[in-house]
């Protein structure tokens, strides 16, 4: 459905996106993950024909974004970072305007507007001026606008940014409910969002892709050897460390900061060892209180941080001035 090959976007002074390639099949939800300024918005703007690529190709449903932009535009729904709404219009007339822009036949417009209002639960605000809507409602109007012509591809740029946790949850549910008929690309810097709603993750850092994989595979990458956090109360740090190092399968033990009265360690296992039962037994048998024991380095957040860890960030502008 979406195919990006060797895409590069160069602005006057810097390269925003460098040689990225990925694909998304029908019905997939692809999470575009990266820090601010990583190149997420630029990539989306290329896919929506707002910006042409400097090099490389991108196509949607087989249509090239440069050569057949009109065909591409018919097949995408796009929610930019700030919802593109006109504050002086009310919700219904705004959606009617967008429906006309997207080429929906005049007879079907009213029905489509009703349907997307229901779908995004804004039908109680249809006659409200957009300038009077809260941020959460505006975002929903933005999503309604993107799906009004029922496009096969949806491109959502940070659909949950600026919403409160309750609204974020609602927005995620809404996006998940759309996944059946649409291929969705959404960008975000919130990791839990990707974990919850996406089938595939593209992690992008400083304009380059560092990983393209399913969420499950990303988790498995770290599974071979595990890191365990263990916290023990009422014991001497050195003593505990010595005891833990004796447990079978432990590769290393490193102490870390902890609350008062407790000591904590990161325990690294050798490959294919599951440490937690053994560690628990060792602590309890020594007569200490085990207060916490959990595997770390498994959440997407930690995988993400590890993948985007930069050696020493050098802004390109600086190099030029020296």
């Amino acid at each position: 459905m979406i195919k990006v090959e060797g895409l590069t976007k160069r602005y006057a002074r810097h390269v925003a996106v460098r040689n990225i390639s990925f694909e998304a099949g029908k019905g997939e939800i692809v999470g575009f993950l990266g820090k601010n300024g990583a190149g997420k918005t630029t990539t989306m703007r290329v896919l929506t024909c707002f910006l042409p690529p400097t090099e490389g190709k991108a196509s949607i449903a087989g249509f090239d974004v440069v050569e057949q932009s009109l065909e591409v535009k018919k097949r995408i729904g796009y929610l930019p970072e700030t919802p593109p709404v006109y504050p002086e219009m009310d919700v219904a007339s705004y959606l009617t305007f967008v429906a006309k822009l997207k080429g929906i036949p005049a007879g079907e417009i009213a029905a489509r507007v009703d349907e997307v209002c229901k779908r995004t639960s804004i039908d109680d605000r249809k006659r409200t001026l957009i300038s009077k809507l809260s941020k959460g409602y505006r975002q929903r109007v933005g999503i309604a606008q993107a799906i009004i012509h029922n496009p096969p591809v949806l491109i959502l740029d940070e659909p949950t940014s600026g919403l409160d946790p309750e609204q974020q949850r609602e927005a995620r549910q809404l996006i998940a409910s759309l996944s059946g008929d649409h291929t969705i690309i959404l960008s975000t810097h919130i990791l839990s969002e990707v974990e919850q709603s996406c089938s595939k993750v593209v992690i992008i850092d400083k304009g380059s892709i560092v990983a393209v994989d399913s969420v499950a595979n990303l988790h498995n990458r770290k599974k071979a050897a595990e890191t365990v956090l263990i916290e023990v109360a009422g014991a001497e740090s050195l003593e505990v460390k010595r005891r833990l190092e004796q447990v079978a399968g432990v590769a290393s033990v490193a102490s870390r900061e902890s609350r008062e009265g407790t000591v904590a360690f990161d325990v690294q296992s050798l490959e294919h060892y599951s440490l937690r039962p053994e560690l628990a037994r060792a602590v309890v048998q020594s007569g200490w209180n085990l207060t916490e024991l959990r595997a770390t380095g498994e959440s997407l957040e930690e995988i993400f941080l590890e993948l985007t860890k930069s050696e020493e960030p050098k802004p390109e502008g600086e190099v030029a001035t020296k």
């Binding site: 602005y11 006057a12 995408i76 593109p84 006109y86 997207k102």
Partner: protein, 255 residues
Amino acid sequence: MRNVFTICGKELRAYFTSPVAYLLMGLFGLIFGFFFYSATAYFVMAGMRAQMSGQAQPMSVNDFVIAPLLGNASVVGLFLIPLISMRLFAEEKRSGTIELLMTSPISDWEIILGKWLGAMCMYLSILALSAVNVGVLFIWSKPDWRPILTGFLGLILQGGTVLAIGGFLSSLTKNQIIAGASTFTVCLLLWVLSWVSSYNEAPWAQAIAYCSILTHFEPFSKGIIDTKDLVYYASAIFLGLFLTARSLDSMRWRA
């Protein structure tokens, strides 16, 4: 074509759901009303004096009231039109809604034409106010309606030209003040260019004066429709819209 009307309707709605339309109409109504009053009051006084001195020929309403009035309207227009055109693209660029338009399945030309037409409709509704004043003259006198019609045609063409230029300048910036001020400057320059020919007879001076927007308006107010004036306005409008199209396109590669 449907897309052009969609955009045009949206623009018109934007003017009339904000105070902009009413403010502009109010300003124009006030200023034009004052001109109208001055022109007729002066005409009445001059007419009485002519009668007393035994002049047999009645004075022409067309020459003494309507022609100068339409000339004034065209100058007031030059000041008001930047206020109409400044928001056309600058507002959408600032609020990000330009992304909606440019990622919708419509062409740049449809966006540009729609916006220009919307602004034209706004300008026409302002101009319609002056038609009320001129209409009053028909109650107490018998002015010739043909120069009035050509005069309004001239005003419409002149407005279209300035709106096309203003739209282009608005597409260059996100800032409405910059768009408005630069359009105003260009309008003023186009107006005063005609002065060059009054102190210099050289061909280049004539050429510069030819570019003046008012030089081409004057024949219309006298009831003359000259092809060269029509060509001037039509090409100026096309140039403005064409530059806007190039400017929108440049947003894509300049970013």
